[in-house]
């Protein structure tokens, strides 16, 4: 589930508030959004890739809270790691033309 909104990285654009399909965040005037309904998070990682500054971190545990510090996420270079794997940058989509999934499907049969 979503664990971190990094106040030091966040530019307060509120995109995550808009795009989260589970309506997990609440916007806060002149501040970073807050995680208002953590238990509703569906662990889809999509807020991470839409965030223009990689300020969000979703932990892999989908059932229940998974405590982790911002320092650890930073240290392990996990902020924005899913966006990088897809080829999305600064909240902008990209990378579908390099998707090698067709090779996997051939190998799977």
């Amino acid at each position: 589930m979503i664990e971190i909104v990094s106040a030091s990285r966040c530019i307060e654009c509120d995109i995550c508030v808009k795009v989260c399909p589970a309506n997990v965040f609440d916007a806060v005037p002149d501040s970073a959004p807050i995680i208002a309904r953590q238990d509703d998070c569906q662990t889809c990682y999509l807020c991470e890739i839409y965030c223009p500054v990689d300020a969000l971190y979703v932990a892999h545990r989908a059932e229940g809270h998974f405590p982790i510090t911002e320092a650890e996420v930073e240290e392990r270079n996990l902020f924005g790691s899913y966006a990088r794997a897809l080829g999305w940058k600064r909240g902008k989509a990209g990378g579908t033309e390099h998707d090698p999934t067709h090779r996997i499907r051939v190998a799977a049969v």
Partner: protein
């Protein structure tokens, strides 16, 4: 293909919120409303008129909106979440069932039909592959970037979920559709003869909305019974309940026995990597099947052995059959499958990791609203259905359509339902908006008895889950257990129907609880009626398929559940 344009609406004031097709807004008081007020954050209800209202913003809803808009209809699309990230496709990487036109397509359909437990209909399968192919080509023409194969040809049989749905959002907005994000629908409206719209709540502003429409498309997806799988947060069977309240039938609701492997406690229900897995017990010893052979390839026949082992205790996996080149393709092609491992500090090609089987309800199951007409009508005038909200038995029978068929079905049925709805809207243009509409929602909105404050939606959902999620009850079924579960659900339903009541935004949750309970009830009733085993419906007390059951099980009714059946047409089976 020139069609008569939609007549413009008389009387009402016009305020265009988006360039393109004008949408009419008017306040409940009947006075003119400025666009500023429409966008205001106050609690005044939002009231709109449209030709076609699409409920749901997954791929089927997006295609429905595009098809209707292309026809000249004024379209509103309301999604519970956000068109672009909501639904089962957005977080995933979806393979489509992509069959190019030509002589071989008959064979491809025939081959696939052989796997459907005899319940699919080849006519629907053929028209689906044709329509899906046409629309996939459209996507490429519109600028979606597909990868190339080694010979330089475009590979259009795979869509990357986040990119695909973001692309569809742009397209839908460009077509002039009014998109209402975070606007869950709570109920349909009817004038007694036909569906005339829907209403719900804007959950970010806590204000009610209603859209009067000449036709409504239900594209609300399946019901995953609140399982924590990718994209399922909003997939609670709301469309099933709304359709049943309007008098529509459901079909194939017994086919909810589909589960997919995922790393333990994660949301990643994507089976593909397990094609290259071997499986182990907690003590590290290999998991053996009945013949003493080690279980590997978890996406085929061996799934049953894994399910059995998971009932006994923890099971672990390792993707040790993946060659280095494949490891690279898997990592780059299915990156979200590796996100949980990377974050947990596990190398799934070398390390053992604990796994689970995630229940997928009707999302990768096949049940849903019965299709009554080729344009995806439900049999209720003005009500259309698309994607996972519809039964996919025509396409995939008793087996899962996940992995290819479902996404092509979402594209094709979305398209047909949008066309069907806009054609209906055009025909009913003169009669529309004159009659008094009445809301149809009951359970979770208007209790039949006294409201009980102690009745919590979370507890209701947990109680339903206890009957429809455990492997020993729902993966492996038997008549006695189904019967006991069914009785428990009857009593839960009674609580919901009689006493569940909430206000404001909380109505979304109570309506979800009602829809989940109703869907489970229909599923169990259908599973009891199908007194045999077929596809994902596995009954230990009735092993083997019975030719007498090569037919559909229909279910209808909200308070009193009725079971019916339908033969599959001969033409569908022949050829």
């Amino acid at each position: 293909m020139s069609r008569p344009p939609f007549p413009t609406l008389p009387e009402k004031s016009e305020t265009t919120v988006r360039p393109g097709k004008g949408l009419t807004f008017w306040p409940i008081t009947g006075e003119r409303m400025s666009s500023d007020r429409v966008k205001s954050t106050g609690n005044d209800p939002l009231h709109l008129q449209a030709d076609v209202l699409v409920l749901g913003g997954g791929p089927s809803g997006a295609w429905a909106a595009l098809a209707a808009a292309e026809d000249g209809a004024r379209v509103v699309l309301a999604d519970k979440g956000y068109l672009g990230t909501s639904g089962a496709t957005a977080p995933s990487n979806t393979g489509t069932w992509c069959v190019p036109p030509g002589e071989n397509r008959g064979q491809a359909v025939e081959r696939r039909w052989q796997r459907t437990g005899g319940l699919a209909d080849q006519r629907w399968m053929l028209r689906c592959v044709d329509q899906a192919y046409e629309n996939l080509v459209k996507l490429s023409e519109w600028g979606y970037l597909f990868p190339h194969e080694d010979d330089g040809r475009l590979y259009i049989a795979n869509l990357r979920g986040p990119d695909y749905m973001r692309f569809m959002r742009r397209r839908v907005l460009k077509a002039g559709v009014t998109v209402l994000d975070h606007h869950p629908a709570l109920e349909l409206l009817s004038n007694g003869d036909a569906i005339t719209g829907a209403s719900g709540v804007d959950r970010q502003r806590n204000r009610d909305w209603s859209v009067e429409a000449k036709a409504v498309v239900l594209a609300t997806g399946g019901c995953a019974f609140h399982e924590r799988i990718l994209g399922a947060t909003g997939l609670t069977g709301d469309g099933y309940l709304m359709a049943a309240e309007a008098g529509a039938h459901l079909s194939g609701m017994e086919f909810t026995g589909k589960y997919t492997l995922a790393p333990y406690e994660t949301s990643l229900n994507k089976g593909l990597p397990y094609r290259w897995a071997t499986f182990y017990r907690e003590d590290g010893s290999p998991l053996l099947d009945a013949n003493g052979e080690q279980v590997s390839n978890g996406i085929g026949e061996r799934e049953k052995d894994i399910a059995k082992a998971l009932i006994d205790g923890p099971v672990f996996a390792r993707l040790d059959h993946a060659e280095p080149a494949l490891q690279d393709w898997l990592r780059r092609g299915q990156p979200n499958c590796f996100v949980p491992h990377d974050r947990a500090g596990i190398d799934p090609f070398k390390d053992l990791f604990r796994i689970t089987l995630r229940a997928e309800g009707t999302v990768r199951g096949t049940g849903g609203i019965m299709l009554a007409t080729v344009d995806c009508g439900t049999g209720v005038p003005g009500l259309y259905v698309a994607g996972d909200a519809a039964s996919r038995e025509n396409m995939t029978g008793a087996v899962s359509g996940g992995g290819a068929v479902n996404s092509s079905w979402a594209i094709a049925s979305g398209w047909w339902s949008g066309k069907g709805a806009s054609t209906y809207a055009r025909k009913s243009a003169r009669k529309a908006f004159r009659s008094i509409s009445k809301p149809l929602g009951e359970a979770g909105l208007r209790p039949a008895g006294n409201a009980r404050a102690d009745l919590r939606t979370a507890q209701i959902i947990e109680a339903v889950r206890a009957e429809v999620i455990p492997l020993e009850k729902n993966y492996f079924r038997d008549g006695t257990t189904l019967h006991t579960s069914s009785e428990r659900l009857e009593s839960l339903w009674n609580d919901v129907r009689q006493h569940l009541h909430t206000e404001g935004v909380d109505r979304v949750r109570s309506r979800e609880a009602a829809s989940i309970t109703a869907s489970a009830r229909w599923s169990l009733a259908s599973a009891l009626a199908r007194s045999e085993s077929r596809g994902m419906h596995r009954r230990a007390d009735r092993p083997g398929s019975d030719p007498a059951f090569a037919r559909r099980i229909l279910v209808s009714g909200v308070d009193a559940v009725r079971i019916g059946e339908a033969q599959i047409s001969r033409e569908g089976i022949a050829s």
